[in-house]
């Protein structure tokens, strides 16, 4: 990815410079997971199966879709996902 502005760290440098991921949960049970369909053909087939398997493990699944796969998800959609979901599965398939 192209780089942007580089700055000098204003802190005491006791924490990592990049933002850290939260610890991975032991189970998906009770979590709300959003599945984002990027709107490519037959992506829904894959996501339907994923939803079945996650629900079988006790997760609640919400489905979202981008208007088009050619553009980043709109801010409102990202906000909707962030406020409604507790877990993210970061993945890309084609």
């Amino acid at each position: 990815m192209a780089t942007g502005v580089t700055i000098l760290d204003p802190t005491n440098e006791s924490t990592p410079a990049t933002r850290q991921l939260l610890a991975r949960p032991k189970s998906v049970n009770g979590h709300t997971i959003g599945l984002l369909d990027i709107s490519k053909p037959r992506g829904n087939v894959f996501l339907d199966r994923l939803q079945e398997r996650l629900e079988a493990q006790g997760a609640k699944v919400l489905r979202f879709a981008k208007p088009t796969f050619t553009k980043p998800a709109p801010v409102d959609l990202r906000h909707e996902i962030a406020t409604q979901c507790t877990l993210v599965i970061e993945a890309l398939a084609d």
């Binding site: 990815m1 192209a2 942007g4 502005v5 700055i7 000098l8 760290d9 204003p10 802190t11 005491n12």
Partner: protein, 484 residues
């Protein structure tokens, strides 16, 4: 600051000329170069722009301006004489007599005007100087770099990382930080203090980074450093000032001629918005405590309400207009010396008296308002800053009251009998312990009322800034000299 100087930028012995084609004075002296080169003293010519300038004498291109930067060339042409690696002569622009003397050629440039000013060196071109400083002195700063992605808005990114006070901050790029560091003679790695609450070594460099973020100019940096020295010690007790549930933060009172040199406001709206120095010096102190010390609201900072001055609360005294000696001089700093006094204070509150025409009447109003500092029945435990305005100050000046007289009068007139102050008296549970019921007590401890003078020329108002628990259990005001 000359750091990282290597042999590559060492000048050769003999005569050295630094010039650029773009400069008409350089063009005027170019025909003289061959004559100078024939003298017994070796000649080296450096050209900043056009490699053909001085080609007849085998000039060299100062392509990265390293020679010009490291030898502090501000004007071209500059003529130097170097002996045993040490510069012994320097003249800049064209001065017939200087050039003749330094080259030892008595009739050099006889047909030229006796003097002609030069042009600015490319190494001090405002468009280039910050990048050159980063290139040549960049190794003097050692902070970790943080690289944002192109898709990331740097202002949002800095907010998201928790580095701001809620307002946007200036991205502290290496160029900006190195420029900020030109405001002090102190080395970037000098440790100024141990920053609470996390007890981290606070270097000049980290202060400079936060000063950039706050919006400071380099000339403010010594004031920020002095204020941080003043808050990071047991007397001021910055850890306690953060941790207390009371609404206080560091209030910074600036004294000395430097306050005017950096354009601080001691007049209209002195406590308020609009002046860059006032607002960014205080902000830089707070950002440094937040980012380096780790003092953040909701964590170590437990203030019940806080106050807006915890973003920044910094002002200068109007020493020229004041009928009183300055706060700094009252605290042992010689007149004419730049100094900061830090005080753990809440927001300012106005004292209105538009009718008093005698100092006694006005003092009585001051006392009535000062008594309410935190609670009218609590005495001696809290200090306060009293800021007298020009309109009120005139009443004391005309009566010949000086600083000590006013403070003494306030102390005497604030004396209250313990029976009125003890817990339960006047149907208020709050108050001083019962054993003080027979004592007669002033509102403030000796030295606990800090008299200052500031404000616009119109308004029969003064101002009080109440403090936190004073003394060993809380905070004492601290004054520090501001050093370049």
């Amino acid at each position: 600051m000359v750091t990282g100087m290597s042999s590559a930028v060492q000048l050769p012995d003999g005569l050295v000329i630094i010039a650029k084609r773009e400069c008409a004075t350089c063009q005027m002296v170019e025909p003289l170069l061959a004559r100078i080169a024939q003298s017994d003293t070796p000649l080296a010519v450096y050209t900043q722009d056009d490699p053909t300038f001085g080609r007849a004498v085998n000039s060299q291109l100062d392509s990265d301006l390293s020679i010009s930067w490291h030898h502090n060339i501000e004007t071209v042409p500059t003529l130097l004489l170097v002996r045993n690696g040490v510069e012994v002569e320097r003249t800049f622009g064209w001065s017939q007599s200087d050039w003749q003397r330094i080259t030892g050629i008595a009739d050099l440039g006889e047909d030229l005007p006796t003097t002609r000013p030069g042009c600015g060196s490319m190494s001090v071109d405002p468009d280039r100087v910050d990048a050159l400083r980063a290139l040549f002195t960049g190794s003097s700063v050692t902070s970790r770099t943080v690289e944002f992605s192109a898709a990331e808005d740097e202002f949002e990114a800095m907010y998201a990382r928790g580095w701001t006070d809620g307002f946007p901050v200036i991205p502290p790029t290496r160029e900006r930080v190195l420029k900020m560091l030109t405001g002090t003679t102190r080395a970037p790695q000098d440790v100024v203090a141990i920053a609470p609450p996390n007890l981290v070594e606070l270097t000049v460099e980290k202060i400079a980074i936060n000063a950039v973020m706050a919006g400071c100019l380099p000339e403010y940096l010594p004031w920020v450093i002095a204020a941080l020295e003043a808050v990071c010690n047991d007397e001021f007790n910055m850890h306690g000032v953060l941790a207390t549930t009371m609404p206080v933060g560091p209030v910074i009172v600036c004294n000395g001629p430097g306050t005017r040199a950096i354009g601080m406001n001691s007049g209209i709206n002195a406590f308020g918005q609009g002046n860059r120095a006032n607002n960014t010096i205080g902000r830089a102190v707070q950002l440094t405590i937040r980012n380096v010390g780790g003092g953040r609201p909701g964590e170590v900072d437990r203030a019940t309400h806080g106050n807006p001055g915890k973003v920044s609360f910094c002002f200068a005294e109007d020493e020229e207009g004041s009928p009183f000696t300055s706060l700094a001089s009252a605290r042992g700093i010689p007149n004419g010396t730049n100094a900061v006094t830090v005080f753990a204070g809440e927001g300012p509150r106005c004292i209105v008296d538009q009718l008093a025409r005698t100092p006694e009447e006005l003092t009585n109003s001051f006392v009535a308002c000062l008594e309410t500092v935190h609670h009218p029945k609590l005495v001696l435990g809290f200090d306060a800053i009293l800021t007298v305005s020009p309109d009120h100050g005139r009443v004391f000046a005309e009566a010949g009251w000086d600083r000590n007289r006013l403070i003494d009068e306030i102390s005497q007139r604030s004396m209250r009998h313990g029976s009125q102050l003890i817990r339960g008296a006047r149907d208020m549970a709050e108050g001083v312990p019962l054993h003080l019921s027979e004592a007669t007590l002033p509102k403030f401890r000796p030295g606990g009322l800090l008299l200052t003078y500031a404000g616009g020329g119109a308004g029969l108002f003064s101002s009080v800034i109440a403090g936190w628990a004073n003394g060993k259990i809380g905070s004492d005001p601290v004054t520090r000299v501001v050093s370049a």
